[in-house]
Symmetry: C2
Amino acid sequence: MTDTSPNRPAKRGRPGYDLESLLAVAVKLFNERGYDGTSMEDLSRKLGITKSAIYHHVPSKQELLRLAVNRALDGLFAEVDKLDTVEGRAIDRLEHLVRGSVAVLADQLPFVTLLLRVRGNTKVERDALARRREFDHIVTDLAGKAIADGDLRADVDPATAARLLFGMVNSLIEWYRPRGGLRAPELADMVATVAFDGLRVRPEA
Amino acid sequence: MTDTSPNRPAKRGRPGYDLESLLAVAVKLFNERGYDGTSMEDLSRKLGITKSAIYHHVPSKQELLRLAVNRALDGLFAEVDKLDTVEGRAIDRLEHLVRGSVAVLADQLPFVTLLLRVRGNTKVERDALARRREFDHIVTDLAGKAIADGDLRADVDPATAARLLFGMVNSLIEWYRPRGGLRAPELADMVATVAFDGLRVRPEA
DNA sequence: TTAATAACCGTCCATTCGGTCAGTTAGCAA
DNA sequence: TTGCTAACTGACCGAATGGACGGTTATTAA
């Protein structure tokens, strides 16, 4: 989807990585080995340039992390903003948010993956966690309204419903790979179906 | 549940940590900061002993990880073994496994948490991932049989069903804390209900 | 009182870590 | 051909890392 290869045509200056192409490689490596488990040496080796060359593009290792997680968060909050245009009951808006989140997850998989693994060791990580909590709060509110509407099971409290729902959504990062046969819309269908209607086949009336 | 405090009564030798109590602190810290993000210095400070004292109990940092993830895996496979005694259809056995896994997760939360975050950087981690895949394979087989029985939706393939199901189960480590009001059996009920019957309220016939 | 046991300390080490800095090189436009 | 821009190199640094090692201290059983 995004061109991440070095030496792409028609640019000023010496060809090579720019911030974008470098970030793509970095995030991929962070996801493979973990952020703390990846040294700048490791990254430079993977890039095929020296460690100091990385610092031409980015002032610190943490900045790479910051750029990545914010990209994921911006994508997710863009889906939240889209909800304003969605008419209908809370459960429908909730389903929209689920589908939107699956779409962001599929489209920005490496960034979302990194986001969901952040632990809170540094300020960058804590800021990311704060924005994640903000997102979770929005989901919980929607679940609460859907329960009040009588559309979502009342034997599960809103916070738990939100957590189970997005627990399932977020678990996609563990196995979904866009290159496989399954496309994002079909994936979103599956998740929405299973989450809202369950895995069990119900005897028809 | 398990006594993890140092200086418990009636033991030989100088009182202090033994492997068990040390491991508990280590795993907790690993979960807070990440395995790679936790140095042996960090751990020694948390323990209140010197770094070298740790190496009296354990030969390496990786050994701590190995002990922890194997404890989690042993718990999960014990639940698999229990399935032999369960009569009934595949979907019932699958539900048993879900409930059993939730129980293990709740009882051995720190160990399971650490297990689910392993990336595969070292041999210890790769071995853990291999055992996890073995577990996943068992779940997928069960899902396949349940679909063949006509009990699980046929519009989701077995592997995806297994992944969504245990994606939801495993996401519990992100928020479930045993000290809260919710007990493990009630938690298992909720997860099983939501996963198999969905979050949506269905109009009664 | 004396072993045996088991936890612990202080010091040290080679390596790796994230990061700095002064210079170099490759392509483009004028 | 000359600037200009932007990517890159190599040598270096102080701090932190996982771990080794020889000696010490607190407790219980005989």
